[in-house]
Symmetry: C2
Subunit: 336 residues, 2 copies
């Protein structure tokens, strides 16, 4: 197969980091052909910085570019639905940043649309494609820690003044949507995409009406329990624990981009790939690891798949349903 031809939708921070990941992969596998932003100026600046041949001042132009196989959507969350629909409509495979959309209803719409158009779609939960997570799933599936009865995940940091966007409802802010999605997706992965029996959430809201902190208990059939916490005002441990009847696994800080896994046999190391330019600064920790999800897209498209088995659309929907439930219980502005 020829190199996968990428278009990048939005020239923001996360798109920058995604490119750092993409460029860690061989050019013969992934080529980056175009970038679009809402202003041509910022698209051009981004294109120059990353040596991308084509810059567009609108997402429509990107959608129409016939050279592209797949679009990475790195816009703010409230724009995900419209951008992703536009790309799907144009027949482009889509890798869309997490959370896939703002809520369960939008997610349902988008998934239905992609299926109707027979176009590949995946939520960019890069966490699931780290080698440490493949090993975690392998150990769970092998029965090495027995039956899983308890999961505990925390994700939290103290909001920096420049990151106020994380609490702004116009930008899709809030602890659940911005970071809780990882803790929930981790839990769902461990429990094999099973539907929870009960969800209980307590939390606090920002002045803007988004959630600052959520303390969540998810109960699965048979009394299996997950206890999660996400905060954008407190620095939580950011670890994930999986407890089974025969032993336990720990994904140490930071569980959503892990390079280590603690198992009953000891700690296993999974070093990150070397970035193309080791000196290039990134906005988020370990983001060169976004290359793993890019490789997954390539595998899927090579095999003619319309979704990934590792981050399937039904599970993206389930996580969106859980997030809706949590935010409703907390009284988040999106559900007022």
């Amino acid at each position: 197969m020829a190199a996968l031809r990428w278009g990048i939708c939005s020239a923001g921070k996360v798109s920058h980091d995604f490119l750092v990941g993409l460029k860690a992969l061989p050019e013969t596998s992934h080529s980056i052909l175009a970038v679009a932003a809402r202003s041509l100026e910022s698209a051009q600046a981004f294109a120059t910085k990353h040596s991308i041949p084509q810059a567009y001042g609108s997402y429509e132009e990107l959608a129409k570019d016939p050279q592209l196989d797949v679009i990475y959507i790195g816009t703010i969350t409230p724009s995900h639905l419209s951008c992703a629909k536009m790309m799907v409509e144009a027949g482009k495979a889509v890798l869309c940043e997490k959370p896939l959309t703002m809520n369960s209803e939008e997610t349902k719409q988008l998934i239905a649309f992609a299926r109707e158009k027979n176009v590949f779609l995946m939520e960019a939960i890069w966490m699931r494609f780290f080698p440490a997570m493949f090993e975690l799933r392998r150990l769970i599936a092998s029965g090495s820690i027995g039956d899983i009865n308890y999961v505990n995940v925390s994700f939290g940091f103290r909001l920096k003044p420049e990151a106020r966007g994380l609490i702004d409802p116009k930008l899709g802010g809030g602890a659940t949507l911005c970071i809780g999605v990882y803790a929930i997706s981790f839990t769902s992965m461990v429990f094999g995409g099973e539907k929870p029996e009960k969800i209980h959430a307590e939390g606090t809201l920002s002045d803007e009406g988004t959630d600052n902190l959520a303390a969540v208990t998810i109960t699965y059939p048979g009394g299996r329990i997950a206890q999660l916490s996400f905060s954008i005002k407190d620095t939580l441990p950011c670890e994930a624990f999986v407890y089974g009847t025969k032993g336990q696994l720990k994904v140490p800080k930071r569980f959503w981009c892990p390079t280590k896994l603690e198992t009953p046999e000891g700690t296993k190391e999974f070093p990150l790939p070397k970035p193309y330019q080791p000196s290039e600064p990134t906005n988020f920790t370990n983001s060169v690891g976004m290359c793993y999800e890019a490789e997954e897209i390539r595998r899927c498209l090579q095999e003619g798949k319309k979704e990934s088995d590792i981050m399937p659309l039904n599970e993206t929907q389930l996580v969106a349903d859980i997030m809706d439930d949590i935010m409703k219980q907390l009284g988040v502005i999106y559900f007022k």
Copy 2:
């Protein structure tokens, strides 16, 4: 004041460890005069081992011994109420192992009885008297971490076959009573003995009907939240975190007998006192630190107090109420 004259009620494991703590203190402050067990034989063996002058084959004889100022009760939990009442009736000050009794109603009875008889009573939550906990309370009171909005505590270990008593209802087993009491008492201490607004618990039961695992969310007025977990089947981190608007504190493993405190200024160390016989094995970790609560009893009795300000009876009652609520929600056998 002359040395405080101790009698020991029950010659079990925890009484052994309490003596290791007591003997780390000067004999001029604490003298150990008598021990009682249900059989004279085991009382005598214990007395010989610990050089205690008097051994009794019944708790009644201990209660009647006119030399004693204070009785340490180390029996199994279902016996706490009757033993403590007997000692209070005889006018002895009482330090009773945690949990004070089996439930809220018994605790109410016992506290009322001690108050009626004007006799000192304290639940042996030794955790609260560690120097690290004095420093934690000082830092919280000084406002150094701002207003507290979130607390997270875990306490759990994988049950060893010889510790099956921890799940036996006849012995007062169950995760909440045996170890959860510490996590709840820690939380209550941090929130100054305030009454919770709401309690939510999920968990799993043993075949015996006691609780194996509890995942608890306690909500305090103003949206302040505590998230707790206790397990006697999983090895949890056993750490306690206190998150404030200006910073956070961590009591590292094991939070209930801590020698360290992590503060925004760095980690502070609080080494344990040297035991009288450094080679003497103990049954529980850091149990020489039980000397701190023994010293508190001495201070209280010297000042003519009938209860401790640091572990007050109203708070023991509050914690008992919370434990009842949790165990009711889990369907623990005691509440069936």
